[in-house]
């Protein structure tokens, strides 16, 4: 171990961040090196000097004043809302309208794989989806076209572009949803798959996320993406019902309630009634009760 390396490690030692094995090496070096012994002594003296600076501990008064001011300000701020949810019928209409508008547009891009602006058209390397997911660095969705660009590391940097319905792009997105350790990329991939949930493979991947993703944001997003046509399938409703009963995150459970209330499966009402009286979260109880009430009103209206 060199003197420079040792000094850097001695600093970590003083802060309690040096691993035991490295510590022994550093000790041995200091034992034999006068210059590093001097360095350690100087660091200890510096510590003594710095200890004379009092810690800036906020007083109780200051903290209360800050809380009071913040509380007043929060009431004036528009609260955060989850992303706007569009009713399935309207979403389908918008999708068709968007598709037709795009089809009739004079600037319509040619069919097939179309790159983003400023990217020269050309070949897309053929690479297996698992490698793309493993090396994925960023995922961009073109807001105008819904097309996706996945930038990933192979030995160099490469990118794959195309519509999410493109089999190669879709496979890469599914691999990312299932295997990427980066929750942000998983969320982006889920977003890119919005509108693809009627596909069996996509639906299966989304259900896996709902059941087992460690990130509540991803579970929430997967429920959102499943909403719509896919929500009518019994397997989907059962998975969401399972999430409603087992998920630890109240936000996810509330989103599951909304999903099931709009899907109106026969198995939903008894579960919601139970949650309305028994759930640990007051907010979940409230939302369940509201969904139950809406369901009864809707039944009465139908008679």
């Amino acid at each position: 171990m060199t003197c420079d390396e040792t000094r850097s490690e001695l600093l970590l030692l003083l802060y309690g961040e040096l691993a035991e094995s490295r510590r022994r090496e550093a000790d041995e070096h200091v034992e034999e090196c006068g210059a590093c012994r001097l360095f350690l002594a100087e660091e200890r003296r510096l510590e003594e000097i710095l200890a004379l600076r009092p810690l800036a501990e906020p007083s109780g008064d200051l903290l209360e004043r800050c809380r009071g001011e913040l509380s007043a300000a929060l009431r004036k701020v528009r609260p955060t809302r989850p992303p706007l949810r569009v009713p399935p019928a309207l979403a389908a209409t918008l999708l068709v309208a968007g598709f037709l508008a795009g089809w009739m547009s004079p600037w319509r891009a040619p069919l097939g794989r179309v790159p983003f602006e400023r990217t020269p058209p050309g070949r897309v390397p053929s690479i297996d989806p698992a490698s793309i997911a493993a090396g994925l660095r960023s995922l961009a969705i073109d807001p105008g076209t819904g097309r996706v660009r996945l930038t990933y590391e192979t030995p160099g940097r490469a990118s794959l572009e195309g519509a999410p319905s493109d089999p190669e792009v879709r496979s890469a997105l599914l691999e990312t949803v299932r295997r990427s350790p980066n929750a942000g990329l998983r969320l982006d991939a889920l977003e890119a798959l919005r509108g693809q949930a009627s596909d069996g493979q996509v639906r299966a991947a989304l259900l896996e996320v709902v059941r087992g993703d460690s990130n509540p944001g991803a579970r929430l997003r997967a429920i959102d993406v499943l909403q719509g046509q896919a929500g009518t399938a019994e397997t989907v409703r059962n998975a969401i019902l399972e999430a409603l009963l087992r998920d630890r995150n109240p936000g996810v459970r509330v989103r599951a309630i909304d999903f099931l209330a709009s899907a109106r499966g026969p198995e939903t009402l008894p579960v919601l009634e139970r949650l309305a009286s028994d759930d640990a979260s007051g907010y979940v109880r409230l939302r369940s009760a509201a969904a139950v009430e809406a369901a009864y009103r809707s039944r009465e209206g139908a008679r």
């Binding site: 000094r7 850097s8 600093l11 970590l12 003083l14 802060y15 309690g16 961040e17 100087e42 660091e43 003296r45 510096l46 510590e47 003594e48 000097i49 710095l50 200890a51 004379l52 600076r53 009092p54 810690l55 800036a56 501990e57 906020p58 200051l62 903290l63 004043r65 800050c66 809380r67 001011e69 913040l70 509380s71 300000a73 929060l74 009431r75 701020v77 528009r78 609260p79 955060t80 809302r81 989850p82 992303p83 980066n182 929750a183 942000g184 969320l187 990130n215 509540p216 944001g217 630890r248 995150n249 109240p250 936000g251 996810v252 509330v254 640990a280 979260s281 907010y283």
Partner: protein, 221 residues
């Protein structure tokens, strides 16, 4: 029933529940305020940063993906706000040509001056008040503040977060959106400069006496 964890509170707050957000604030605001106070040295500025940081978090909560803890996320917001202010302060200070202790002292004069006022009051209130010792302590503290203020904004942040707030270098890397290695190098540079600037006070420490246990905190998390 056990209190809800941060994750649950964030979930509710993301659905627009202000009370859940306020509970998150109560859990983490002391450390947020302590950091702002420590970096800026002014209660007024720390109050402003406190409010601005939590309002910013509230407004962007819908996009918070919980890839880091709420506290780390808050520290990231606060350090960015403090960095902006420190840079503005440094820009306002009339730094004489050249570098070294004099320039560093001038650059940190505003922060050090305000901290100095606060420290002076702390020293005077002590029951065993010894004017000579108090004077020496004040001088040493003034030099410590000037030396810390003379670090670059980034070095200062890393030093404050590690030395006085007790955060691990890995967490500091997350807060500053850089690697643990970079945070470690930054801390090393900060120490090298502080050692050089405070070299003259090595002997004076014993005379001044230590007021409290050193804040060189071993791991908080």
């Amino acid at each position: 029933m056990p209190p809800p964890d941060d994750e649950a509170l964030i979930g509710r707050a993301q659905l627009g529940d202000v009370a859940s957000f306020e509970e998150l604030v109560r859990r983490h605001d002391r450390s947020v305020l302590r950091l702002a106070l420590s970096l800026l040295g002014s209660e007024e500025e720390a109050r402003d940063v406190y409010q601005e940081a939590f309002l910013r978090a509230y407004r962007s909560l819908a996009g918070f993906r919980q890839e880091s803890t709420f506290e780390t996320w808050m520290f990231r917001i606060v350090t960015n706000l403090c960095l902006d202010r420190l840079r503005r302060q440094a820009g306002r200070a009339e730094v004489p040509a050249g570098t070294g202790a004099a320039a560093a002292e001038a650059a940190g004069a505003g922060v050090a001056g305000e901290m100095e006022d606060r420290l002076a009051r702390v020293a005077d209130d002590r029951p065993d008040h010894d004017p000579e010792k108090a004077l020496l302590q004040r001088e040493i503290r003034r030099q410590i503040e000037a030396a810390i203020a003379g670090l670059s904004s980034r070095e200062r942040l890393v030093f404050e977060l590690r030395h006085y707030q007790g955060l691990r270098l890995k967490t500091i890397g997350e807060i500053l959106e850089t690697s643990e290695e970079t945070a470690r190098n930054c801390l090393f540079r900060a120490h090298r400069q502080l050692r050089a600037r405070l070299r003259d006070f090595r002997g004076a420490v014993r005379d001044a006496g230590r007021e409290r246990a050193g804040p060189l905190r071993v791991e908080k998390r």
